[in-house]
């Protein structure tokens, strides 16, 4: 079975996808959380890349410490422009992790910059989405990710 979550298998067991949403902007965090909840997802939010990695057990001082959160997350959606660690840098760290590399990562940005988009997709991002997010974007996301691996 493909580990890329949101799979048919999950739906069969009545499980709800658990999404980790990362954004430094408080309003955007609240918005993405509601959009995801309205699409029947369980949501955990993080305000920056470091917090996200810590949640996933991939923080610098968490080497080799097993972490339950890791295996529960089915999708990571992150803003691109964040202070400290960009969404792209977060993406790379996730892809470097043997535990998390199969989890789809979606990157969002308010700026439509083709080189940025390509860089993210080439870096392993499943999708790139333009902000502000709408309900239709999140529905599309859920559908697309449901079809992968089923």
């Amino acid at each position: 079975m493909d580990a890329t979550c949101l799979s048919k298998d999950m739906a069969d067991h009545g499980e709800v996808p658990h999404v980790l949403a990362v954004d430094d902007n408080l309003i955007d965090r609240k918005l993405v959380e509601k959009l995801l909840k309205n699409s029947s997802c369980k949501v955990t939010t993080a305000e920056n890349g470091l917090r996200a990695l810590e949640y996933l057990g991939l923080g610098d001082d968490q080497q080799n410490i097993s972490n339950d959160n890791c295996s529960k997350i089915n999708l990571i959606i992150t803003d691109y422009c964040m202070p400290g660690m960009t969404g792209y840098e977060l993406l790379k760290k996730i892809k470097e992790s043997s535990m998390m590399r199969e989890v789809p990562v979606v990157i969002m940005s308010s700026e439509n910059i083709p080189t940025r988009i390509n860089k993210c997709l080439e870096g392993g991002a499943q999708m790139f989405m333009l902000k502000p997010l709408k309900q239709s974007d999140v529905k599309k996301l859920r559908c697309q990710l449901m079809n992968v691996g089923s």
Binding site: N25, D28, K131
Partner: protein
């Protein structure tokens, strides 16, 4: 005033806000997200926007008042404000921020100060309008009516 009149006033007012460009489609998205599990979602998010924006605007004022202006910081803050205003559908605030960022890039202090002034004005206007809108909603609910959906 009875419910029907209040509702009509609400619909007209909402439409005017869209016509005059104060709000755009994204505001409708917010309204559509509101449901029984979160009946105050719009007011909550907009209140957060007010708090956040006021902090940003105060900070911007201070940053631009320094002898040596940190344009990177100014740009980062305007980017934040542009993001939040865009997310709630405050179109005119968002547009004012776009121009602002151009002046940041050029490190043009006069341009930046003009833009700050404009952003503050637009923010003040939209805050006022949204508070009026929310008051109208409260009046409708208090009179026992339902908030009409505006297309």
């Amino acid at each position: 005033m009875e419910v029907g009149q209040l509702q009509e006033r609400f619909v007209d007012y909402t439409k005017s806000l869209f016509c005059e460009g104060f709000l755009d489609d994204q505001f409708l998205q917010l309204q559509q997200l509101q449901d029984e599990s979160n009946p105050d979602f719009v007011v909550e998010v907009v209140s957060l926007f007010f708090e956040d924006s006021e902090k940003l605007l105060n900070d911007l004022t201070k940053t631009l008042d320094q002898q040596f202006v940190d344009y990177k910081r100014v740009d980062a803050q305007v980017h934040q404000l542009k993001g939040s205003s865009s997310s709630i559908g405050a179109q005119r605030v968002k547009n004012a921020c776009i121009g602002f960022r151009n002046f940041c890039e050029e490190q043009n202090i006069e341009g930046c100060l003009r833009c700050l002034h404009q952003v503050k004005q637009e923010y003040s206007l939209v805050k006022n309008k949204l508070q009026t809108l929310f008051r109208l909603e409260q009046q409708i609910v208090a009179a026992g009516g339902a908030i009409p959906m505006v297309e």
